[in-house]
């Protein structure tokens, strides 16, 4: 009880650097924030799932846009022109048209599907053999599948007009118009995703900011005492910033897991869908980089909203 107040131990360690001090404090504070979150698991789980679901929506739209993009690329490579000939044409007449088109430089290849072959394919694929067999006449026209040399929309439209002017041709269908529509849908989805992201971020600011405000309210007395013994606002805010960051990152991580579950559920049906379009398209999941991005987006938003909320609320506590 009676040692001199300044009787220093002989083994006083060298003065630690400011960097060291910061490191110890941060390590202790990060651990403390995590422990506090884990001590109230239900409240934490609810907050994390709200954040996860909020992040899931724009992430889903982002994925949809990505998948539409790769779907378009896949369709682009197989851009075709389907030329439906008049129904009255005989197989040999169709052959003649086909031979004529093969002389065109603008076409890479010409494939003729005669009306009888079309009938056979159709009844096999669509399982309508019974219905078709009952028809007196083959209702299907002969078709020419053309692969054009160009993929430019204007050139394709010119080619389409040229083909339509042939008397044997009934309808020319350009896949390109379909692609253009898909492109427009994709742009729309992308815009929608960005707008939604903005709203979601605003919502996250409100959710996390409020969580932090309540946490500060609960620790009011502790903050008062900290201020009395010389804590800066930055020091007091630090655990709350970690709380915000941890909540946000956990939300991002859970959103990634939910996306993975969705991808596993939808993968099979998407392959079936792609097969219907004779298309090797695979439903893309979030890449690792995007997944890390999503976690960081959550963490960053959590940190920033905690920063805003804690500085306002901590400054308001006066010892």
């Amino acid at each position: 009880m009676t040692r001199g107040p300044h009787a220093r131990a002989r083994h006083t360690r060298p003065q630690p650097s400011a960097m060291d001090k910061l490191l110890w404090q941060h390590r202790a504070v990060a651990r403390d924030s995590l422990q506090r979150l884990l001590r109230s698991p239900v409240a934490t789980a609810i907050t994390v799932s709200v954040i996860a679901i909020a992040l899931l929506l724009p992430a889903l739209l982002f994925l949809l846009q990505q998948n539409l993009g790769s779907g378009i690329a896949e369709l682009d490579r197989s851009a075709r022109i389907s030329v439906y000939l008049e129904t009255g044409l005989s197989d040999s007449e169709a052959e003649e048209v086909s031979n004529y088109l093969q002389t065109w430089d603008s076409l890479l290849s010409v494939e003729l599907v005669s009306s009888s072959q079309a009938l056979a394919d159709f009844s096999e694929n669509a399982g309508l053999a019974g219905v078709l067999a009952s028809l007196a006449e083959n209702p299907l026209p002969a078709t020419l599948l053309l692969i054009p040399r160009t993929s430019d929309l204007a050139d394709l439209e010119a080619l389409q007009a040229e083909l339509e002017s042939l008397p044997e041709v009934a309808v020319v269908e350009l896949d390109r118009t379909w692609i253009a529509r898909l492109q427009a849908i994709r742009n729309f989805v992308s815009l929608l995703g960005r707008a939604l992201l903005l709203f979601v971020l605003l919502g996250l600011f409100a959710i996390i900011g409020n969580t932090i405000r309540l946490a500060i309210e609960n620790r009011r007395q502790e903050i008062r005492v900290q201020k009395l013994v010389g804590a800066t606002d930055a020091y007091i805010a630090r655990p709350f910033l970690y709380t915000g960051f941890l909540l946000g990152s956990a939300g991002g991580l859970v959103a990634c897991l939910l996306l993975l579950v969705l991808w596993l559920l939808l993968g099979q049906s998407s392959r079936e869908l792609a097969a219907l379009y004779n298309n090797g398209f695979e439903l893309a999941n979030l890449s690792l980089v995007s997944a890390i991005g999503l976690v960081l987006l959550g963490g960053g938003t959590g940190w920033l909203s905690a920063l805003i909320s804690s500085y306002r609320n901590i400054a308001a506590i006066d010892p």
């Binding site: 107040p5 300044h6 404090q25 005492v225 606002d233």
Partner: protein, 221 residues
């Protein structure tokens, strides 16, 4: 170390807590403040800690004028002052040792160094055996001594104490005073508010007597 120049403090209601107070406390000086409750003792300590600002006059502590100290510098100002509060201001969700460690953690001491200093401070107030207990299980006097250990743990240049012996029996009061005297002997300035007049008289230190916010006496009791 502490200088009051014609300091007055009015609260919003208009009543004056302190009026035209002037005194100076030198380095290594131990001074008592007495007066009945409501005479302005607590307000005086709050002004020095920067918890409140004077309405008129200058408060100078360790060379800096508290009226001109920006808000973000106040924490650093407080780190140089060890304060013992009448209501102890302990945190009940952490152990005695963790309570005492608070000023060191804030100042960024290494955990090992913190432990060593905390044990030394608790030893001084005779509570080393209770370092792992929670304040709730301690008596009022023990809580008060935890507050004293926390005030001295960072080896401040100034110690302020509001009724530091209020809950202590005479023997413990004498022990606590011995701790304060040790700090005085190494150049720490102490300002102790107390209405325990017999203790103040017995120790015969310089005493500021306040009445209704005015300094009515400044001298040895």
């Amino acid at each position: 170390m502490i200088r009051f120049d014609d300091v007055s403090k009015h609260y919003a209601g208009g009543q004056a807590a302190l009026s035209q107070l002037s005194f100076e406390i030198a380095r290594g000086e131990m001074v008592f403040v007495t007066g009945h409750s409501g005479a302005g003792k607590s307000t005086l300590l709050k002004l020095i800690l920067g918890m409140e600002k004077s309405s008129a006059g200058q408060v100078l502590v360790n060379g800096s004028n508290l009226n001109r100290l920006p808000r973000n510098k106040i924490p650093y100002h407080r780190r140089g002052i060890g304060a013992v509060f009448q209501d102890h201001q302990l945190l009940f969700d952490r152990s005695v040792a963790d309570n005492v460690a608070l000023p060191l953690q804030i100042a960024g001491f290494h955990p090992q160094e913190t432990r060593r200093r905390v044990r030394a401070a608790l030893d001084k107030v005779g509570l080393l055996s209770k370092e792992k207990m929670f304040p709730e299980r301690l008596s009022g006097g023990e809580q008060q001594r935890v507050g004293i250990a926390r005030a001295v743990v960072n080896r401040p240049q100034i110690i302020l104490a509001d009724e530091p012996t209020g809950n202590l029996d005479p023997e413990l009061s004498a022990d606590v005073m011995k701790v304060f005297e040790q700090f005085k002997s190494v150049g720490v300035s102490l300002l102790l508010a107390s209405h325990n007049l017999s203790l103040v008289k017995q120790l015969n230190y310089r005493t500021l007597t306040l009445s209704e916010g005015r300094l009515i006496r400044d001298g040895r009791s």
